[in-house]
């Protein structure tokens, strides 16, 4: 149970009744980065956010919702799609990352296009290949759609159907999407043991991977080039698309590895179909360049060498990051 309802009622003359919700932060997680004081979670706000997440009216064709690309059973990724498909089945150029533990991130999207969760949804909504809409027209559509006026009125003090409340509600929902109940978490909480293989895998992970895939989020939040050969057709420059600095070329946000077993394909462009392929890449596929992360550049040898046995146990460990409680939690489902 991640959310607790604290008995604080907010009741005014308009019959506005809402209940504040406290985000329960797992003890082994880093601090929450999302500013909850500015956008306090409420029962109705979260519920509105969930509805909006699954609302097709958010796209120009009326058929694509956030949930189309971010599917719960795959940890809110677009399973099986190298690139995300949006309206009119147009293809984007990036692989859909999971929406989980957003309350703890500093930057969003593979290149950190925004540092604030509230601002993030503007990107998919206005991108031609994703939802091809404008925020203004989404708000107009919601005003005319049955039910939304009441839902906004129940969720916010001023009750307006406007872009501010729309984005705040989506954030409230996404902030509650915490994944912290995998076998690994149970092991950390001394509730379950890891097998021999899983333990060996953890030890190797800590030694070879945890410098980047750090903390209980399995990401240090930084932008790095892990040595993928750029795809010449896309030539996605990553972080430097946002900052404009050449030193950031081909750097991407270190992704969380939570629920990694269900989020194939892998990497910003979804080039690898399996974890075996990812580990084979780190072992022998890393390509040198000006911005390759120094950690992958050791005395003339590139990458992270592993034996076959090490790769087997690493994968056993990575499988302990699958959190079925999260993947099946009906608070996050379309219902």
């Amino acid at each position: 149970m991640i959310l607790t309802l604290i008995g604080c009622q907010n009741n005014d003359d308009d019959g506005y009744t809402n209940v504040l919700v406290e985000l329960e932060v797992p003890a082994h997680f880093p601090e929450v980065t999302y500013n909850l004081t500015n956008n306090p979670l409420t029962k109705n706000g979260i519920e509105l956010g969930r509805k909006l997440f699954y609302e097709g009216a958010v796209s120009s064709t009326g058929t694509v919702s956030c949930g189309t690309c971010h599917e719960q059973k795959y940890a809110f990724t677009h399973h099986g799609h190298t690139f995300s498909h949006g309206v009119n089945d147009l293809e984007g150029t990036r692989n859909t990352p999971p929406v989980q533990n957003m309350a703890f991130l500093e930057n969003f999207a593979w290149d950190g296009a925004t540092g604030h969760l509230d601002l993030f949804p503007i990107i998919p909504i206005t991108t031609e290949v994703e939802m091809n809409e404008t925020l203004e027209s989404v708000i107009e559509k919601l005003k005319n759609k049955a039910g939304y006026k009441a839902l906004f009125a129940d969720a916010f003090d001023d009750g307006e159907v406007n872009s501010e409340n729309f984005l705040l509600a989506l954030s409230q929902f996404m902030v509650t999407m915490v994944s912290a109940d995998a076998k690994y978490d149970k092991y950390i909480r001394n509730e379950e043991q890891l097998t021999e293989d899983e333990q060996q895998g953890l030890a190797i992970f800590e030694q070879k991977c945890a410098s980047c895939h750090a903390t209980a989020l399995f990401s240090d939040g930084s932008f790095r080039n892990n040595g993928l050969q750029p795809n010449p057709k896309l030539n996605d420059l990553g972080r430097s698309k946002v900052t404009g600095f050449e030193a950031d070329n081909y750097k991407f946000k270190v992704p969380s590895l939570r629920n990694i077993a269900v989020t194939a394909p892998y990497m910003h462009d979804g080039r690898f179909g399996s974890l075996e392929a990812v580990l084979a890449f780190y072992n022998s596929g890393v390509v040198d360049s000006n911005t390759l992360d120094p950690l992958l550049h050791n005395n003339g040898s590139l990458g992270i060498p592993t034996t076959e046995q090490e790769r087997t146990v690493l994968i056993a460990f990575l499988n302990t990051l699958t959190d079925n409680t999260f993947l099946e939690d009906d608070r996050f489902s379309e219902k």
Binding site: N35, H116, E164, G244
Partner: protein, 276 residues
């Protein structure tokens, strides 16, 4: 200026305007006999009038610009009095869009009205250009109206979600290039490179902005659009491929931004009368 219809939009972050008075040293300033102050932004180009759509003479980088759009966000206004005491205009009301645009659908905004300013004799103005980190970190909470206005003026980015602090667009001609379109968009690159800048400009010596309930002073600030590319860092449009939207080019423009503004003169009008 394209037009002298001075329309202002004061975009408030909150419905409750809290007039807060503070001073550096000895505690609170009492807000007695508060008055209003109008700040007008008169754009020019290296000392000549900036006319949207007309060619200007070549700048010191050898590039002759025709500006079709010049808009920017002015924020966090502070008035400083003759004793160095600072009055900070309430932050939630302190974000404004100044705009001149060849798109006639967008009203020109060239002035800002500050209300409930404590009486005093102010001799300097401090303000920011863009959206500071604190405001950015607040996300959309309380920013609704301002976000919508910024969107209307094309001052938001969708690919790097956030605000554009400056839109400076048009065409230019150099020794090697004729009538090429250019775009300079300034905005946040990262937490480390915010490109948000502040500037403090003094009123001409011997003059002051006199504020009380009987006065309605107008402060004329000149904005030299040319200086964005020349003030201290020489920024050649050609060298940056006609588009500066981040990276080193944006950092250089941000270095120039504080030097673009100056107070030209102050009209200490009596309330009820206005002059230019």
């Amino acid at each position: 200026m394209k037009t002298n219809i001075l329309k202002s939009i004061l975009v408030s972050f909150s419905l409750i305007a809290l007039a807060s008075c503070s001073s550096d040293d000895d505690g609170e300033m009492d807000n007695v006999n508060p008055g209003m102050v109008t700040i007008e932004f008169d754009s020019n180009f290296a000392g000549n009038e900036l006319t949207i759509g007309n060619a200007n003479t070549a700048n010191t980088n050898g590039e002759a610009l025709t500006v079709t759009r010049f808009n920017y966000i002015v924020s966090n206004i502070v008035l400083i009095d003759e004793d160095g005491m600072e009055y900070t205009y309430p932050k939630e009301n302190s974000y404004f869009i100044i705009s001149e645009d060849s798109n006639d659908a967008l009203a020109d905004n060239t002035s800002i009205v500050l209300n409930d300013v404590p009486a005093g004799k102010y001799t300097a103005i401090k303000f920011g250009v863009g959206v500071d980190k604190e405001k950015y970190d607040q996300g959309l909470s309380g920013a609704g109206d301002f976000w919508d206005a910024a969107q209307e003026y094309d001052m938001t980015w969708s690919w790097a979600a956030g605000y554009k602090y400056i839109n400076f667009e048009g065409t230019y001609t150099s020794a090697t290039i004729t009538d090429e379109a250019y775009k300079v968009h300034l905005g946040r690159a990262s937490d480390e490179v915010t490109n948000y800048t502040e500037t403090t400009i003094n009123v001409p010596s011997g003059s002051a902005i006199i504020v009380n309930e009987d006065m309605a002073p107008e402060v004329h600030v000149t904005t030299d659009a040319s200086a964005l590319l020349t003030a201290s860092e020489a920024v050649s449009l050609e060298a940056y491929g006609n588009a500066i939207m981040g990276g080193e080019g944006a950092v250089k423009v941000a270095t120039n931004v504080p030097l673009v503004f100056a107070v030209d003169h102050v009209h200490n009008n009596e309330a009820g009368n206005s002059s230019h």
